[in-house]
């Protein structure tokens, strides 16, 4: 057995109306995913400021995932469209900075898609684990 | 050459998304060469969608299309059936020995008034 097995740190932003409820549904159905995923609740995926994501990477997160309602289903009509466009821009910048594309993701998970939430998280954790630790943006002063 | 390959060829050459068809039949309703055709415009679209290309390749229908583009302009879904027919026809005649119009046929076709345009167009459509 491997000692000190690498565990990634994943921050997940979930919109209150669809994805957070989807995560709750995954819980209700006992659909397991790694404990490395830590969820932060936001009213809408469009509340996620790119600053939050940069901050997470700076503080040592290995992957950040944003989950929102499916396009067209946003509780606030159009919020997830903003998310999609903002994150497309941010991710390409992160890519430019050397943060691998696989470390960031936007996923649409509805309140009924508990299984999709768990599957998404499993897949994301697996991909990020394969990449290993994020060193690119990490601020060493934040290291313990 | 399997059907899948041919199907992809037709789609590539024509650039048509056959799955946009909603089976309204307006292409065949508007086709001026309908009565001459064994397979009609909507069947071309449908058969390409299903990968049934061989019957089309061997059909005389290929040479009955007038390329008048009525089906293209009137299709409510933007499917462009005439481009599908053209792609199938090209697939048939590009093969050596498959030219549909031969130089020997010409004397029977022309008269004193025949415009050059007729022969030029026919050759472009029927031969490679």
């Amino acid at each position: 057995m491997q000692v000190n097995e690498y565990k990634p740190l994943i921050v997940a932003f979930c919109c209150n109306w669809c994805s957070y409820a989807g995560a709750d549904l995954a819980g209700n159905n006992r659909l397991a995913y790694p404990a490395d995923v830590k969820i932060i609740r936001v009213p809408c995926s469009c509340r996620v400021n790119p600053m939050f994501i940069l901050r997470a990477f700076q503080r040592g997160a290995d992957g950040v995932i944003i989950c929102g309602c499916h396009p067209g289903d946003c509780h606030y009509t159009s919020g997830n469209y903003y998310t999609r466009r903002r994150m497309a821009a941010l991710f390409s910048m992160l890519d430019f900075l050397g943060i691998e594309r696989e470390r960031t993701r936007v996923e649409w998970v509805s309140a009924a898609e508990g299984a999709k939430f768990a599957a998404t998280m499993n897949d994301f954790v697996e991909k990020v684990t394969a990449l290993g630790e994020n060193k690119r943006l990490e601020d060493l002063r934040c290291k313990k | 050459m399997n059907n899948k390959y041919l199907q992809e060829e037709i789609v590539r050459i024509s650039g048509v998304n056959v799955s946009k068809c909603m089976r309204c039949g307006k292409c065949s309703a508007t086709c001026p060469a309908y009565d001459e055709m064994e397979y009609h415009p909507h069947q071309f679209v449908n058969m390409v969608e299903n990968g049934e290309i061989e019957p089309l390749l061997n059909s005389e229908s290929l040479y009955k299309c007038l390329s008048c583009f009525a089906c293209i302009d009137r299709c409510p879904r933007g499917v462009q059936p005439a481009k599908v027919v053209e792609a199938v026809r090209l697939t048939a005649i590009r093969k050596q020995g498959n030219n549909h119009l031969k130089a020997d046929d010409i004397p029977a076709i022309i008269d004193d008034e025949t415009p050059q345009q007729l022969l030029v167009s026919a050759f472009r459509k029927y031969t490679k």
């Binding site: 830590k38 936001v42 809408c44 509340r47 997470a56 606030y76 | 039949g25 065949s28 009137r74 409510p76």
Partner: protein
């Protein structure tokens, strides 16, 4: 820094089975601000809630963190507990250690570790929480209904029935809308006028309802409960309160060759007219573009014959300002223009008509007094071809037509075909269809009856070309099932034109800041659960302005919209969601980015005077959020380039603190 109490719930074994709750409580004790930390079997039980209340008093807590189930489950419960203990209810944060921890992780070690981190994040957030109070605003107890078709009529009647005053604004000289033009209605075949006109009379006689006919809304300000609306009453050159609707002027008017809109131009009307006999209000209107008196001061016959003295050539447009608590949009639909579909020869032959024209042609009050006669020569048609889906279900990027299914055409075409065969059994009737869509009560039975009992010939396929030649219309079409091309010599062709929202809808949506889809249909707040509300609070949707609808559907939606309006007007005050955006006026530079992304139109700008450090004053443009309209999505906070905009309850610093706590 708050004085935070942490309460870790076992949820029986639901949490305690995978998470070491004692360890969590212990670990969180050392977090900044935490002055008390404990665990209990069922925090949501009365005993658990009492434990929280006591701890608040005992330890002077200013913030509470409950590590328990999802906030979607018990956030409201614990907020009430906090309020009961004298705390602001928004000083509570929940760490979700059940649905998002104990239930999805099997390993006690990692479960506990994660629960601690989630707890830390909640503590970090609550430390930055501020007490929030939902705003209150008064409600003007009057509703505005824009559009006087069957949707607007039904909504107005239902609202008035609950005792609230309602105003209807209708741009035509009479209410009644499209339904007033119809002959019979499916699937029961009762006559449209017989069921509509009594409702129109009810509206006229209801003392809670005012009708502004020949009028339009020109400006809307304000927000839910408090709309300020400007209504323009177009000059009709007839005093509404004096005119008796006797019609003497209509008979005498010498300008008799104006295309009659009500009959879709199939016959003529005079320059002064009453659209139809049962019009409400039954008042004459002068068409200023046709009246000789108004154009060049010559004539004046109508004034001479009017014994009531109602004609007033000097009348001007009038603007009325009124306050409303709720606005219902009922602007309805129109058939699309057939200009771009001339393969069907609509512009080339009078005998190619639209379905709405067919309604007028078969209506007893129509241009042919209900006899089905060819518009070109007045002869009885023997072969009639109906073409469905003309302009419906077209590709989105197509240059002509609409992408959606117009929904009503299958049924009205079946109705037309059936009625034709019923009245004129010597007529051959063909219906060309792509699909027959009849999902409605008794709808499919109706369509089958048209085929089986009335002998209507339904052909699967589309018409490709119609060639008028001599007296005939040569119809070239597909019969897909027989794999044949059909050639039919028809006498009359009826096109089931797609329907589209009324052209007035788009400018109105801008005024209301109500959202629309790409087809100019109003969007609903939620497609399934809030179908009659616009995402803009206080704006409601009735009828075909929201999407194609038949009469039964329109009436039920109209009633639903009315009940939502009544629910709003019944309140004296509106309580808002306190988690709304707010702009820091010292940082805001008035760039308008936030207003551009706000789906609710909650952000406006004002010029404010600021005192500068050098004691001068400077006027700056700043953003102001209306808390009664803001729904708290946070789109503006991210788009704000200066960082002035923030969201209460989900502030930048709070979320950042959560990120920090998780990534420690």
């Amino acid at each position: 820094m708050q004085r935070v109490g942490v309460f870790v719930c076992w949820c029986g074994s639901n949490i305690a089975g995978t998470v070491d709750v004692k360890a969590v409580a212990e670990a969180l004790k050392s977090e900044p601000g935490v002055v008390f930390s404990t665990d209990y079997q069922y925090m949501c039980s009365q005993a658990g809630q009492d434990m929280i209340k006591n701890a608040v008093k005992e330890h002077n807590l200013t913030g509470i963190v409950v590590c328990s189930c999802s906030p979607r489950m018990h956030e409201a419960t614990f907020r009430k507990t906090a309020a009961a203990a004298g705390l602001n209810p928004y000083m509570v944060e929940i760490a979700n250690i059940r649905e998002q921890c104990s239930w999805v992780h099997k390993d006690m070690l990692s479960g506990t570790e994660k629960a601690i981190i989630l707890g830390k994040a909640a503590v970090a957030k609550v430390n930055l929480n501020a007490p929030l109070t939902p705003g209150e605003s008064p409600v003007t107890k009057r509703a505005l209904v824009i559009g006087g078709g069957i949707a607007g009529i039904q909504t107005a009647l239902d609202i008035a029935d609950a005792g609230f005053p309602v105003d209807i604004v209708e741009k035509k000289p009479t209410i009644g809308g499209k339904m007033a033009q119809l002959d019979k209605t499916f699937p029961t075949l009762d006559c449209a006028a017989c069921i509509l006109t009594p409702k129109m009379v009810d509206v006229a006689q209801n003392d809670k309802i005012r009708i502004f006919s020949y009028s339009e809304v020109t400006d809307v300000q304000g927000f839910v409960g408090n709309f300020d609306v400007t209504i323009k009453k177009n000059a009709r050159y007839v005093k509404e309160d004096i005119c008796t609707g006797c019609g003497a002027c209509v008979d005498k008017c010498p300008m008799k060759r104006i295309p009659n809109e009500f009959n879709l131009g199939m016959d003529n009307r005079p320059a002064i007219y009453i659209p139809f006999a049962q019009a409400v209000p039954k008042v004459a209107t002068i068409d200023p573009n046709a009246c000789n008196m108004l154009k060049n001061g010559k004539c004046g016959l109508c004034a001479k014959v009017c014994t009531a003295g109602a004609i007033d050539y000097t009348q001007k447009d009038e603007y009325i300002e009124e306050k409303y608590g709720a606005i219902v949009v009922a602007t309805g639909f129109n058939p699309i223009s057939m200009d771009k579909f001339d393969e069907f020869a609509y512009s080339q032959s009078k005998d190619v008509i639209t379905s709405l024209e067919f309604e007028r042609l078969t209506n007893a009050a129509g241009p042919s007094a209900g006899k089905l006669l060819r518009p070109s020569d007045g002869e009885h048609p023997h072969t009639i071809v109906f073409v469905q889906c003309v302009g419906s279900r077209c590709e989105s990027c197509a240059e002509k037509g609409k992408e959606y299914c117009s929904k009503i055409c299958c049924m009205y075409t079946a109705k037309h075909a059936m009625l034709t065969r019923d009245k004129y059994p010597d007529t051959e009737v063909y219906v060309f269809y792509i699909d027959v869509r009849t999902p409605g009560k008794n709808f499919d039975e109706f369509y089958r009856r048209a085929v089986e009992e009335y002998g209507v010939k339904y052909v699967k396929g589309m018409v490709g070309k119609i060639t008028p030649e001599g007296k005939k219309l040569k119809v070239q079409a597909s019969d897909l099932l027989a794999n044949k091309q059909l050639h039919i010599d028809a006498d009359l062709v009826v096109l089931a034109a797609a329907i589209e929202p009324d052209k007035s809808a788009r400018p109105l949506a801008t005024m209301l800041t109500a959202s629309m889809d790409t087809n100019d249909f109003f969007t609903e707040a939620h497609p399934k659960l809030r179908p009659v509300e616009s995402p803009t609070a206080g704006v409601f949707l009735s009828g075909a302005c929201q999407g194609p609808k038949d009469i039964p559907e329109t009436v039920s939606q109209a009633g639903a919209a009315a009940s939502k309006v009544i629910g709003l007007l019944a309140k004296d005050k509106l309580t808002g969601n306190p988690c709304v955006a707010g702009s820091n006026e010292l940082i805001c530079n008035g760039c308008s980015s936030c207003a551009n992304v706000c789906p609710y139109g909650a952000i406006s700008y004002e010029d404010k005077e600021f005192r500068m450090p050098d004691r001068t004053t400077k006027v700056r443009r700043i953003a102001v959020v209306n808390p009664a309209v803001c729904q708290g999505c946070g789109a503006c906070t991210v788009t704000c380039p200066s960082g002035a905009m923030d969201l209460k309850g989900f502030a930048n610093l709070q979320i950042m603190a959560e990120v920090d706590a998780i990534c420690k």
